[in-house]
């Protein structure tokens, strides 16, 4: 299998019609993946849950202000960040984890690889397609929230909703690549999804709680605490949202204040690099695994 991509061009130029170009075959896979994703029950469930919970957060915070309309970057956006941290990674991880493993289980992967497409074109196609489905879900949910906030007359910054949506997408892409990595390693779809949920639990709860406990027990200095928190994509997303949407990272206390004083204008690049690493590294590893393993 690994030798196939290298030998393909020679064969193709001799007798077979030219294989489709990289972009076109990637997009073909992506479109199929997107359509399958949007039609799946899981997608529907997650999207409805995300939108409903987001609307709930918006209504509750509108009610909480007692009609004063005074809500800057208060509990509204905090609630939305919290919700995104819970739902979006779960959605992305499980979507990524289910995709390749279930294809392999059904023999679909071997079938597709028998076509004139390269392994990484399939991977990239799946990434783009699933990423687009996540984009649809995130924008639908947050768009509905923004509508409610506008209707209720809350003074949430319009740009902060756009930032939130954009950064949620980046977080989702990162988690999607982790999911694809899990999926390319696992033999069965059920194992892959189980692993994905475990990873989600670790990133959302366990690592934060462990870091909190560590910070107290080991008396971590604030710069160490900040540096360690950069390893968790959820924390990076949260800090970046606060920094970008309201430029008030100092909400997060001494460690964040240190970050602002120390890094200042470089913070965008720093957070961006962290999340980009979460997108690119697992995806690259997944490509490596896929090309080395039998599609069966």
């Amino acid at each position: 299998m690994t030798a196939l991509p290298a030998s393909m061009p020679a064969v193709a130029s001799a007798a077979l019609p030219r294989p489709p170009g990289v972009i076109s075959s990637t997009l073909t896979v992506a479109r199929r993946e997107l359509r399958d994703a949007l039609r799946s029950r899981w997608f529907l469930l997650y999207t409805i849950a995300f939108a409903a919970l987001g609307l709930g957060v918006s209504f509750v915070s509108a009610a909480g202000t007692g009609g004063t309309g005074l809500s800057g970057f208060g509990r509204t956006t905090a609630g939305l960040i919290n919700l995104i941290l819970l739902v979006v990674p779960l959605m992305a991880l499980s979507a990524g984890a289910a995709s390749i493993a279930s294809d392999r289980e059904r023999g679909m992967l071997a079938y597709v690889l028998a076509q004139p497409v390269r392994t990484w074109e399939i991977l990239l196609g799946k990434f783009v397609g699933l990423g687009a489905s996540l984009l649809a879900s995130i924008t639908l949910g947050l768009g509905a929230c923004a509508l409610v906030l506008a209707w209720k007359g809350l003074r949430t910054q319009p740009a902060s909703m756009l930032w939130l949506a954009g950064l949620a997408l980046v977080l989702a892409l990162g988690m999607l690549s982790v999911g694809l990595l899990i999926s390319s390693l696992a033999r069965r779809a059920s194992v892959a999804v189980g692993t994905a949920i475990f990873v989600w639990l670790t990133l959302v709860f366990v690592s934060d709680l462990a870091l909190m406990a560590g910070a107290v027990a080991l008396r971590l200095r604030i710069e160490q605490l900040f540096a360690l928190s950069l390893f968790n994509p959820m924390q990076v997303f949260k800090m970046w949202s606060l920094h970008a949407a309201d430029a008030s990272l100092d909400v997060l206390g001494p460690a964040a204040l240190y970050a602002v004083e120390e890094h200042g204008s470089r913070l965008h690049a720093l957070f961006g690099a962290c999340l980009a690493a979460w997108v690119l590294l697992p995806l690259g590893l997944a490509g490596l695994c896929l090309s080395r393993r039998s599609p069966l």
Binding site: S25, T28, R31, R32, R35, L38, R39, S61, G64, T65, G66, G67, T68, G69, L70, S71, F73, G74, R75, A78, N82, L85, V112, Q115, A132, S133, A136, T139, G143, C145, A146, L147, A150, G153, L154, R155, Q157, P158, M161, L162, V204, F205, D208, L209, L211, M212, A215, I222, L225, S229, Q235, K238, L242, S248, D250, V251, G253, P254, A255, A256
Partner: protein, 482 residues
């Protein structure tokens, strides 16, 4: 004050051998510098000449133009700018000095003082009582308006903009030193250090705007001051009272004062104060109370204020005792009320009679419909309690892990912390927000627009995938694969 004689000696030294008065000599100094070697096109010393010709009590009208001048007004006159009159200090020394009582100085543009903090170079300095300094624009100045022992003065309608310097090298936009009963009204202060009152009794500060300064307004040992209808936004601290007694603060807007201090209103060992009907929004801490009230003479009163969207509504130091916080709105502050360090707020009261405050995080209900919640409002969450002890843990705010900890705190009574404070009679509806906040149509439209953009993007993806009922089904992908 100590630097002033040195400055005069220097000026007098330069004046030796020349019959000109000291002011002329002062501006002779830059003329000797190589930069100004060419004849200066600006008019020099003309306002001083006009002043010398005018009798006491006269009204001197200065024609429009740019004057390179260091002005000393040593007789009681009224000086009025006719049109756009710019007095440029050429980046040296002070610009206008008022040494006679009852001087009015109105409508000038004063710019470009020196930047020597030791000499406290000022745009306009008054050292005599009853100065009226009105409708001037001060720009690129180290100190702006500096009243030194000028009681009963009026500073009104001026716009004071500091030099673009690092905050530590800036001067005070407005400073009152032993200037009792002064009126500071409708001024705008920006990009300065502080607007500060030193040892000045009975001052009224009304309708001013201060932004991008260190302290919007700072009181040091200044008693019986009234502070009303001002707006202090985007400073390090909005209003900071220190060691002052009998201060009334009402109708002010204290917005987005952030940074390591970042208080809307700070009270340090202040006594007999009333804080009413202020709008305190988006600050790091709405109010910071340190050792106030200082005596038991009168409770510190907070009534009718709205604290919204601050990181912390009110921070109490454990030394703060005897405050009465009644009939305020606490809306959407991340922490509504905090005790810095450990302890509770038993020495302060959050209700009077049968009315407390409105809390946006109140979880009770009002079955009998009397507008008062049927359960007491207690503030105690496990995570807030943790943050009090370990401030670095604030980094985990808004994360699901925080929620998990708070859930544990609610579910397991054994680890539930003592409440910080109790409001026995929380209000179900907010008190009217004063000063009023209109509906922000711009924000609403913007929100609608961003909502539309997001929804359109979502619809676009659905259409691209061909799953919307009205979109064309493209099966070319399957054709390519099979």
């Amino acid at each position: 004050m100590t630097s002033r004689p040195i400055h005069l000696v220097l000026a007098a030294g330069l004046a030796l051998g020349a019959p000109a008065p000291a002011q002329e000599a002062e501006h002779a100094a830059p003329a000797s510098a190589p930069r100004a070697a060419a004849p200066d096109p600006l008019r020099q010393g003309e306002i001083n000449r006009l002043l010398r010709e005018a009798p006491d009590g006269a009204t001197v009208r200065v024609p429009a133009g740019i004057y390179r001048e260091h002005l000393r007004i040593d007789r009681p006159v009224t000086l009025i700018a006719e049109g756009e009159v710019v007095i440029d200090g050429g980046g040296q020394g002070d610009i206008v000095e008022i040494t006679a009582p009852d001087v009015t100085f109105r409508g000038f543009i004063v710019r470009n003082t020196g930047d020597n903090l030791d000499h406290e170079n000022a745009g306009i300095r008054a050292v005599a009582p009853r100065a009226r300094i009105e409708d001037n624009v001060l720009d690129d100045i180290l100190f702006g308006i500096d009243l030194r022992e000028s009681p009963d003065s009026i500073v009104r309608g001026n716009r004071i903009g500091g030099k673009k310097l690092d905050i530590a090298r800036r001067g005070d936009g407005l400073r009152l030193w032993r200037s009792d009963r002064a009126l500071v009204e409708s001024n705008e202060m920006h990009d300065g250090r502080d607007s500060i009152l030193w040892y000045s009794k009975g001052v009224t500060v009304r309708g001013n705007v201060g932004h991008n300064c260190r302290y919007g307004l700072h009181l040091m040992f200044s008693d019986d001051v009234t502070i009303t209808d001002n707006e202090f936004a985007g400073n390090s601290v909005g209003i900071y009272l220190m060691y002052s007694t009998g201060v009334r603060i009402s109708g002010n807007r204290l917005l987005r004062n952030r940074g390591p201090s970042g208080y809307g209103l700070g009270l340090k060992e202040t006594d007999r104060f009333e804080v009413r009907d202020n709008l305190v929004v988006g600050n790091r801490a709405g109010v910071y109370i340190d050792g106030s009230p200082f005596t038991r003479a009168k409770p510190g009163l907070f009534e009718g204020n709205t604290f919204a969207s601050n990181d912390v509504g009110i921070i109490f130091l454990p030394s703060a005792r005897g405050n009465e916080i009644v009939g305020n709105n606490f809306v959407d502050n991340i922490d509504q009320v905090v005790v810095s360090g450990r302890g509770n707020l038993d020495a302060n009261r959050f209700w009077r009679g049968d009315a407390g405050n409105f809390w946006s995080d109140y979880t009770g209900y009002d079955a009998d419909g009397d507008g008062i919640g049927d359960f007491v409002h207690e503030s105690s969450t496990l995570f807030e309690n943790l943050m009090d002890r370990q401030p670095a843990l604030r980094l985990f705010l808004f994360s699901p892990a925080q929620q998990a900890i708070e859930f544990v705190g609610r579910a397991v009574p054994a680890v539930r912390p003592e409440p910080r404070f109790v409001d026995e009679v929380p209000l179900m509806r907010p008190v009217p927000v004063r000063p009023e906040v209109g509906v922000d149509a711009g924000a609403r439209l913007g929100l609608l627009a961003s909502s539309g953009a997001l929804l359109a993007l979502s619809a676009g993806v659905f259409a691209l995938a061909g799953v919307l009922p009205f979109s064309r089904r493209t099966d070319s992908s399957q054709g390519a694969l099979s």
